[in-house]
């Protein structure tokens, strides 16, 4: 009953990772491995989350950690499309909406809440 699936398009400089379905604690470990591999040896990783249904706290933590790691190693983790509205609402309610001030990414927006329009 794993409700999450993903696909990776690998290039030499960048990788595109697309997640779908329910990103819950049961998948958190897997997501961590996927992001680690994607960041390995590449400068930029684009994460696509437009088709996810659920994003729970453990997975939010994983994305924050990935952002922190990317920043520390001069890499980029970019959220490439708007999040589904339900997920955005959860993030805002949980207080993960302080865009400009994300301490992990210096002056860059936290990938969790970056919108295409902003």
């Amino acid at each position: 009953m794993n409700m999450m699936n993903y696909s990776v398009q690998e290039g030499t400089e960048t990788a595109d990772v697309t997640f779908r379905g329910e990103l819950t604690i049961r998948s958190a470990g897997e997501i961590r491995e996927i992001l680690r591999n994607a960041l390995d040896g590449r400068r930029t990783v684009k994460v696509h989350l437009e088709d996810i249904d659920i994003l729970d706290l453990p997975c939010i933590q994983i994305f924050c950690a990935a952002q922190k790691t990317a920043f520390a190693t001069n890499k980029q983790l970019i959220l490439d499309a708007a999040l589904p509205e339900t997920v955005t609402r959860v993030l805002e309610q949980a207080g993960f909406y302080c865009l400009k001030t994300c301490g992990h990414s210096g002056n860059n927006a936290c990938p969790m809440t970056r919108r295409t329009d902003g």
Partner: protein, 121 residues
């Protein structure tokens, strides 16, 4: 997909009351008569939450909570135990075993749904 809740109780009347309330609120419900029955029915199926009585034959509530928490697939599933006001030590035991919350009997449907909302969102 509707969320699925398992209700575990050796009392048919309580099980039915819980089941009736949850179904009315739009949840899917699986019923089990004791801890052993619950583990059998859990096996691989899609269950988002467990509501269990504590005093049951074969495998009691505490044992069931321990078994669920040590199962890779279900270890993060919220578990709410049904206690009576005189079972405070049992409640502590249940919390230690990994219960997410509790409801004190007697409870009414609103209270039940309140607790479900608290742990299942």
């Amino acid at each position: 997909m509707a969320k699925c809740i398992m209700t575990v109780d050796d009392s048919v009347s309580v099980r039915q009351m819980v089941s009736f309330t949850l179904k009315n609120a739009g949840y899917d419900v699986v019923e089990a008569s004791d801890g052993r029955d619950a583990l059998g029915k859990l096996n691989g199926s899609h269950v988002n939450m467990v509501i269990t009585d504590l005093n049951m034959p074969n495998l009691d509530g505490i044992g069931l909570i321990r078994a669920i928490r040590s199962n890779e697939t279900y270890k993060f599933v919220p578990i709410v135990m049904l206690t009576t006001e005189s079972q405070d030590t049992k409640k502590q035991e249940g919390k230690k075993a990994g219960a997410t919350g509790w409801i004190v009997k007697p409870f009414n449907p609103e209270q039940l749904l309140g607790v479900v909302k608290k742990v299942l969102g």
